[in-house]
Structures are given as C-alpha cells and as structure tokens.
C-alpha cells in the first residue's frame, strides 16, 4: 500500500514533469556524443575506454583519415630489421565490432566550437557534446633550412610511421660500405625523446651486420644533451666502435643548409655528406588543433593537468603529442595514459561516472643492439598547475647482458599490451 504524503507527492509530480520533459530531449539527442579526432595511442585508447566503460551510454565516433594505423613506436625496429611493417600495422575493426564505436575514414578539417561540430573534408558536420583532439604532431619542414615536404621524399624524416618508414629502410638497405649517414636530430619538444638515438642504433646495427667498416653515422643535434644519453653513448661505443659520431650545437655550431639532392648538410663546423640523410625537423601540434585555437604561440595545446581538458575550450580535451603535458614526454605510452584520464573525466561529465584523482605514467624502452634494451619511466600527478613528475627511473650504464635482454623482451610484451589496449 502506498501512502501519498505531501512530501512524496512532490517527488511524484517532479518525476511526472521530468517524464514529460524527457521525450523531447530524447528525440533531440538520444545519447551524449563523443567525437575523437585521431586514432593513435591517444585517440584509439580514449574512444575505446569511453565506449567500453560507459557500456553503450555514450555514442562514440572516431575520425581518422586512414584505414590502417602504423605505430610510430617500434617503427625503429622495422628500420633495424627486427620487425616488418605488417607487425606494426593495426586497424580499428575490433573497436567497431566490440564496442560499437563508429569509425569515419576522413580528414577532420575544422572544428566549430560554437556549433560543437567537426567538419570533414567533404563538408559533412559531425556533432559532439565532448570532443577529444588527438592529432599527434605536424612536421615543421621549414625549421631546417633547405628542407621541405618534397625533400622528404629524398631525405625522409620518418617521424610519422608508414611510407616514410619504408623509404628510410629502403635507403638504409641500399647503402654500400663507405657511404655515410647524416641525421639531423629535432629540437625539444618533440615526439619520442629517445627515438632519434634508438634509430641511430638501428642504423649502426644494420651496417655492422653487413660487415661495413668504412661507413660513418653523423648526428647533428640542436640539443646539447638528450634522453638516455649515457646509455646510448655507452652502447654505441661498445657495439659499434667509432661508427657513430654525435655532435651537439657547441661542436657543429648550427645547420646552415641542407641539400638533399647532393646529400649534403652544411653546418658552421663543416659540410657533412651522406648517401642517406635522415632529417627530423621541429614539430608542432597537428594542424587541426592549431587552426582551432587550441594551441599556444609555441604550437602545442595547454590542458588542465587534472583532466586533460583544453584550457581554451570547455567541451574539448586534447591528449597525446599535441598537448602540453608538463613533465611527461611525448610518447605513445603517455598518450595512452592521458587518454584514460580524459575518458574518465568525459564519462564523469556526460553520465555522472565517478572521477578519481588523475595519475599518469610513462615508460619508454629503446633497443641499442640485439637483446640490448634500456628503459626510462616516470609517474606523474597534477601539481603546481602542470603535470608534474612524482617518481622516475632509468636503466643504468654497465648493466649485465641478461638484464638488458629481459628489458628488450619486456618491451615486446609492452607492445602487445598497449596495442591490445588501443585496438583490442
């Protein structure tokens, strides 16, 4: 038997009026909509976690211009001959099949923050309640004098995995003993801090394996120090003798010009000649983030360290390499970690899901020579207005071979893990 008191009468009436109001709302918009731009370590993870953890309560659309995704992480192992392209190429089929994520294969051209829509290359407008922007980096070709997008077809940057990786690999494999490699390393901040130096290691591994003794690898670096420097330099000497010559700005004095056709890199110090030039320019957030006013004057996007929400727009989250993530390096691991924080906060906003305090993590493994793996890692929390490092570690010089082998095997396990966490 039900007693209707004044108190619960009010509740009943309230419920009734809510019911009356609901259908119109439901007709207008059945479920809250999240759109994700970019299907990499940030975007794929965010889409997957929002769809998975909301159990269908949120409509998730992933926009990426490609049918497939080639991971930048482990692409150096393709260069070194340890993996093939197929093994680092993935797609979003399982996200669609398992979690009902809608995949749109198109270039997202612009964002209209007032209308809350993303406009595709063909003019279609995709509406959102919350938008995740995870476009990765753009290459700033003109940051290296004489370099250009066209020049990259001769002297690849290969800092986005795919055809550039294959071009670099083909050119590396075509070298003959006595021919040199010249790399121009990128200035901070850039994607994958240890990446250029792992790549140098892979170059050296390939040349050494072929028995080359007369080739040299020159690294012209705009930075005076770099990630895992002691570990790489120890490894280069140990495995490759004096094949690798790294030069900081105090030595080379700056790059004056690059002539890719002639294979020449001109610096204050000298002109270096290479049959293979690997030019890795400066980087900025993907163009859609910059054109939409999400970036600062330096070309990356400020975010709220507690949530990964854009500091420029309340309905937009920016994650991965495009964001300014404080002490976190730009890495696939970082993007995956940031994506989970963004996903949790978006679910909190749209469905009232519980939001826990943000904790971030990163680990980067690098391969120096067969079974000689090293790693660096950190944990992070929002503090003092940025994502701030809490603890960290780095492999030590002089570690024994067994530990280095274990570290390499661990990296293979990580690759299987993170790609399952993105695409599984």
């Amino acid at each position: 038997m039900t007693h209707i008191t004044r108190r619960n009468l009010g509740i009943l009436l309230g419920a009734a009026s809510a019911t009356l109001a609901m259908p119109a709302y439901l007709r207008a918009q059945t479920k809250p909509r999240v759109v994700v731009i970019g299907g990499g370590a940030g975007g794929a993870t965010a889409a997957r976690y929002i769809a998975k953890d909301s159990e269908g309560a949120i409509d998730v659309t992933l926009i990426d211009a490609s049918e497939n995704f080639t991971t930048c992480f482990f692409s150096n192992l393709v260069v070194g001959g340890y993996r093939d392209m197929a093994s680092i190429t993935h797609n979003w089929d399982k996200l669609q099949a398992n979690f009902g994520i809608k995949k749109i294969t198109a270039m997202a051209k612009s964002i209209d923050p007032a209308a809350k829509t993303v406009t595709l290359a063909d003019g279609t407008a995709v509406p959102y309640d919350r938008l995740v922007v995870s476009p990765g980096i753009d290459i700033m070709y003109d940051s290296v004098p004489g370099y250009s997008q066209e020049a990259a077809e001769i002297a690849p940057h290969a800092w986005k995995a795919g055809p550039q990786t294959e071009l670099l690999k083909a050119k590396l494999d075509a070298l003959t003993d006595g021919q040199n490699i010249v790399m121009i390393a990128p200035p901070n901040p850039y994607r994958c801090p240890p990446g250029p130096y792992e790549r140098i290691s892979m170059f050296a591994h390939v040349l050494k394996t072929k028995g080359f003794t007369n080739s040299k690898i020159f690294v012209i670096d705009p930075k005076d120090k770099f990630s895992k420097q002691a570990l790489f330099q120890e490894g280069w000497t140990k495995h490759y003798g004096n094949m690798v010559e790294w030069m900081g700005p105090e030595v080379h004095g700056g790059v004056k010009n690059v002539d890719v056709a002639a294979g020449k890199v001109e610096t204050d110090l000298d002109t270096f000649e290479g049959a293979l030039l690997n030019i890795i320019p400066a980087q900025k957030a993907g163009v859609i983030a910059r054109d939409s006013g999400l970036a600062d004057e330096k070309g990356f996007c400020p975010i709220d360290p507690a949530s990964m929400k854009s500091m420029k727009n309340d309905a937009i989250y920016v994650i991965g390499d495009a964001s300014i993530a404080g002490d976190m390096p730009k890495s696939g691991f970082s993007a995956n970690s940031q994506a989970k924080i963004a996903a949790m906060n978006i679910r909190g906003e749209l469905t009232g899901a519980k939001v826990f305090p943000a904790k971030y993590a990163n680990t980067c493994w690098s391969l120096i020579e067969t079974n000689d793996g090293v790693k660096v890692g950190g944990t992070y929390e929002p503090k003092d207005g940025k994502i701030t490092g809490v603890s960290n570690f780095v492999s030590q010089v002089g570690e024994d071979a067994a530990l280095r082998k274990t570290t390499y095997e661990e990296s293979i396990g990580w690759y299987a893990g993170i790609t399952a966490d993105m695409f599984g």
């Binding site: 976690y49 691991f333 995956n336 970690s337 989970k340 949790m344 519980k354 826990f356 904790k359 993590a361 680990t363 790693k375 890692g377 950190g378 944990t379 809490v390 603890s391 960290n392 570690f393 492999s395 095997e409 661990e410 990296s411 293979i412 396990g413 990580w414 299987a416 893990g417 993170i418 399952a420 966490d421 599984g424």
Partner: protein, 259 residues
C-alpha cells in the same frame, strides 16, 4: 588514528615470537618497518629450499612446489602426477587449459615433458609465459624433480601460515588484505597496469595478472615496494601506492577471469 597491532609473527613449524614483543604499527610506518624486517634472514624452510633448487629455477618465478606450496602466477605443482589439466579449485586457468583437461589431458611425465618443451604449441592459448625448454635432458631432469618434490603430501593451496622465502612478511600483506578493496577504484588504477599486462590474460613477455589470487597479488606488490622484487617499471608503479590502492587493485584484478 587507526592502529594496526601486530603481536604475532609465526613461522611455519610453530616457531612463534613470544607474545608481548609485538610492534605497534601505524599504516604510515608500515613500509619502513617492512623494509627493516626483510633484512632479518628467514628460517630455513623446506619449501624455500625447494624453490631455490637450480633445477626448478625456470619455474620458480611463477610456481611453488613442496609442503605449503601455494598458487602464484601459476598453480602450485604438488601431486601433479595424474592430475587432470586445469583442475585445481581456486586457480583461474585459461579456457585453453580447462578445455585440455576436459578433453582428457592428465599430467604424466610424457605430457609434462611435451608441455615444458614448447608450452604454446602443446596447449595453444594457455597462459603460461614460458618460451620452452629445448634440451631433452634438462627437461627430463626437471620433470623427474617436479614429480619427486610434488609427491610429498598434497598441501592445501591456502595453508594460512606459510611464509614463502623472500616474501614480504605476512603481517604486512595481512594489513593490506584487511582492507576491503574498492573494485571501481582498482579498475581506474588498473588502467595503468593494462597498458602492459593484457586484460585477456594473454602473456607475450609480460606476465598475466588477470585473475591472480588476491593474497599473491598483494604480496607481490609489497615485494616490489620492499625491493625483494627488482623490476624497475614495477617498483616505480608501486612505490607511491597506498595500502588502500594496493587493496583496490587486488580486489579488481582477482575478480577478473582470463579469456
């Protein structure tokens, strides 16, 4: 402030520290004390001695055998001869292993030998993260050893007072286990774990943590905290975890089933 009182520190074999000598620990003080106590050498235990045997070394990271053996990442191996594959209650096997048992696989010397030679080929899809032992003589020696050591009376998997060699003292694990872990919180924190440890329970160079027994999970994390285990990635993840967080993670991962 909540205080946890420990006045019991019993080793296997009924060696107990006299009552009244117990330490009173606040949660905050737990860790430094745990480190200090680990420095105390443990009494020589038959189980510990078994696990230190070089023959068993490839297995000891994940399996226990001998009196008091418990499940770790893998099931205990006591009385394995004749046992149906995937059949011990209380251990979460892969579907592949359970299917193999249902399909009639029981462990004898020959099956063990073939399995250890190439685990992934013998039972595709099983969880054991071991690449295989190539040398037939080494395998024969190991199988013989396992059969022999496991013969001693089959021990219940959850013998409460066992102390594993080099493990964090039971009291500290108990302090964490006394906390009811918040599974939802554990799922959130576990987001960091599943970047490497696959949710399916598959292992490709990084062990599976899906469906691990809660007690083992807690003890393992404490062992990273106290440098008994030394993987730097794991130590980094664990160093700043509060007991509530470890309990939450254990509650979450132990609740999952490998696929």
């Amino acid at each position: 402030m909540k205080r946890l009182r420990f006045n019991r520190f019993s080793f296997k074999g009924n060696h107990t520290v006299p009552k009244g000598t117990g330490v009173e620990l606040t949660r905050r003080r737990l860790l430094p004390v745990a480190v200090a106590m680990l420095a105390i050498p443990f009494a020589s235990l038959s189980l510990a001695a078994s696990l230190d045997d070089p023959v068993f070394k490839p297995c000891a990271g994940c399996h226990e055998i001998g009196p008091g053996a418990k499940h770790k990442i893998g099931p205990h191996l006591d009385a394995i001869l004749g046992r149906k594959a995937g059949s011990i209650d209380g251990f979460k096997y892969s579907k592949a292993m359970k299917d193999a048992g249902e399909g009639g696989l029981a462990w004898d010397e020959k099956a063990l030998d073939e399995y250890i030679a190439k685990p992934r080929d013998f039972i595709p899809g099983n969880r054991m993260s071991y690449r295989g032992m190539e040398k037939a003589e080494a395998r024969a020696e190991l199988v013989k050893w396992i059969v022999e050591k496991g013969k001693a009376e089959a021990s219940p998997a959850d013998l409460p007072e066992t102390i594993v060699a080099n493990a964090a003292p039971r009291e500290f694990a108990d302090a964490v286990l006394a906390i009811e872990g918040d599974k939802e919180f554990g799922q959130y924190l576990g987001g960091d774990c599943v970047t490497c440890h696959q949710m399916t329970g598959h292992a490709d160079g990084i062990p599976s943590i899906v469906g691990l027994p809660k007690e083992y999970f807690v003890r393992a994390l404490l062992e990273y905290k106290t440098n008994v285990r030394n993987n730097e990635v794991m130590k980094l993840r664990v160093v700043n975890l509060a007991n509530e967080e470890i309990a939450a993670l254990a509650a979450y991962f132990s609740s999952l089933e490998p696929k």
